[in-house]
């Protein structure tokens, strides 16, 4: 039985840019927590955030949380990034491709990163996962397995150039992204 109740979330609003540090979108930035990190495959993650009218959300901010190439969290690689959406509603992260992560029981999770979207008009953030198309482990990933097949594609990034992966996030309506909660 809990003693307390979690604080109510409130929207991040339009002025969260006061705490914006654009360099946080580059997890490998010089002088940053992963400066000099040379393991794994360097990648760019990008995507467009759109609303129920298909309009872009240039005021939105996307946060990333991921394991390192060895599939471990915060063990030699600091897996946090934050990217504002640009005028086209697109986020951009520079990072390394995560490895497969241990799942519940004896399961193995396919390589994935968590993306959370915060924006004016979102009373609380919404979170999803980005998987990489073509990964054999996607077929047996327990979380992907929970997502109805028809909507699974909303979690799977496509290659969009050398080392570039793209996953658009649709907040509402046709092609709506599958969001996850615990």
């Amino acid at each position: 039985m809990s003693k307390l109740v979690a604080t109510a979330a409130q929207t991040i609003g339009p002025y969260w840019a006061l705490i914006e540090h654009p360099e946080w979108a580059d997890l490998l930035r010089a002088g940053g927590p992963n400066a000099g990190y040379d393991k794994g495959e360097r990648i760019t993650l990008t995507g467009r955030v759109t609303d129920g009218d298909g309009a872009t959300c240039p005021d939105a901010v996307v946060e990333l949380w991921q394991a390192g190439p060895d599939g471990e969290y915060e063990a030699g690689f600091h897996g946090y990034g934050r990217s504002r959406c640009d005028a086209d509603g697109c986020f951009h992260f520079t990072t390394v491709k995560p490895g497969a992560v241990k799942g519940r029981g004896n399961a193995t999770q396919a390589p994935h990163v968590t993306l959370s979207v915060f924006a004016r008009g979102l009373m609380n953030h919404v979170s999803t996962r980005l998987y990489f198309s073509g990964e054999a482990l996607n077929e047996t990933d327990p979380v992907l397995g929970q997502v109805p097949e028809a909507r699974r594609g909303t979690l799977i990034a496509r290659p969009a150039g050398a080392g570039v992966w793209q996953l658009d996030i649709v907040l509402q309506g046709e092609g709506e992204t599958v969001f996850l909660e615990v």
């Binding site: 809990s2 003693k3 307390l4 109740v5 979690a6 604080t7 109510a8 979330a9 409130q10 929207t11 991040i12 609003g13 339009p14 002025y15 969260w16 840019a17 006061l18 705490i19 940053g32 927590p33 609303d51 129920g52 309009a55 959300c57 005021d59 946060e63 949380w65 394991a67 969290y73 915060e74 897996g79 946090y80 992560v101 519940r104 029981g105 999770q109 994935h112 968590t114 959370s116 915060f118 008009g121 979102l122 009373m123 609380n124 953030h125 919404v126 979170s127 327990p142 979380v143 929970q146 997502v147 907040l171 509402q172 309506g173 709506e176 599958v178 969001f179 996850l180 909660e181 615990v182």
Partner: protein, 235 residues
């Protein structure tokens, strides 16, 4: 290694629904489909480790480059706990707010009120080993926001907290006691449970304030807690 414990279910009415009709911007931005509930894996149970080395703290927002901001100086302090009442130590708290006239130090804010050049409006602090935090700032002003006829946001401070599990991530706003605009604010009133909503209002606290220097306000944060009972299959 055993599986990560689940999180306590969200108490009914304690969180604002994503579809909050009084707040116009939610209309086209709230997902229509329910989220899929998953059992927490390492991904949801761990969290980025923020340290002051990589994310330096700046706890006095009332001074910018040695110059004092205008307005009513305040000290805000309190604790960060989880739902089981356990303190959350070394938790990064990001803070941002408008200046005393209700203007954000940002080009997007075109509200016709004088911008205080000595108030940038960003702060960052970490809780200590017992979950305590505090910072110095200026009481923010109310500002208009076009949501409905003559809409004004009550005085508020924005916060972003990183707990010890990604599922504990919290972005919220703190309000001030006795503000008549609270009754009219669709963001504040979106949380259905009255007690949960009122917990977003700080308490005047003369022990936190400093004599002849600043008024004090107490505000505690509660992050989601783990369920001690074994996780049922969420499917």
């Amino acid at each position: 290694m055993s599986d990560p414990a689940g999180y306590l279910k969200v108490a009914p009415g304690s969180q604002p629904p994503l579809d909050s009709p009084g707040y116009g911007s939610t209309h086209k931005r709230h997902p229509k489909q329910a989220p899929i509930r998953i059992a927490p894996t390492l991904t949801e149970s761990l969290a980025p480790r923020m340290t002051e080395r990589d994310y330096p703290s700046f706890a006095d927002m009332s001074v910018h480059e040695g110059r004092q901001a205008q307005g009513e100086r305040i000290i805000v302090g309190g604790r960060v706990l989880d739902e089981n009442g356990k303190p959350v130590p070394h938790c990064m708290v990001e803070i941002w707010q408008a200046c005393s006239t209700g203007r954000y130090h940002h080009p997007l804010d075109t509200h016709d009120a004088p911008m205080d050049p000595n108030f940038k409006g960003e702060g960052r602090v970490f809780t200590d080993a017992d979950g305590n935090y505090s910072f110095v700032s200026i009481k923010p002003g109310a500002y208009p926001w076009r949501n409905h006829r003559n809409a004004w946001r009550p005085n508020h401070i924005h916060y972003s907290l990183f707990g010890h599990g990604f599922a504990q991530r919290l972005v919220t706003q703190m309000y001030f006691p006795g503000d008549p605009l609270l009754a009219l604010d669709p963001v504040f009133n979106a949380t259905p449970d009255v007690a949960a909503r009122n917990r977003l209002v700080a308490a005047l606290d003369m022990d936190i304030g400093k004599e002849e220097w600043a008024l004090g306000y107490r505000f505690d944060f509660v992050l989601r807690g783990r369920d001690a009972t074994p996780m049922e299959n969420p499917q």
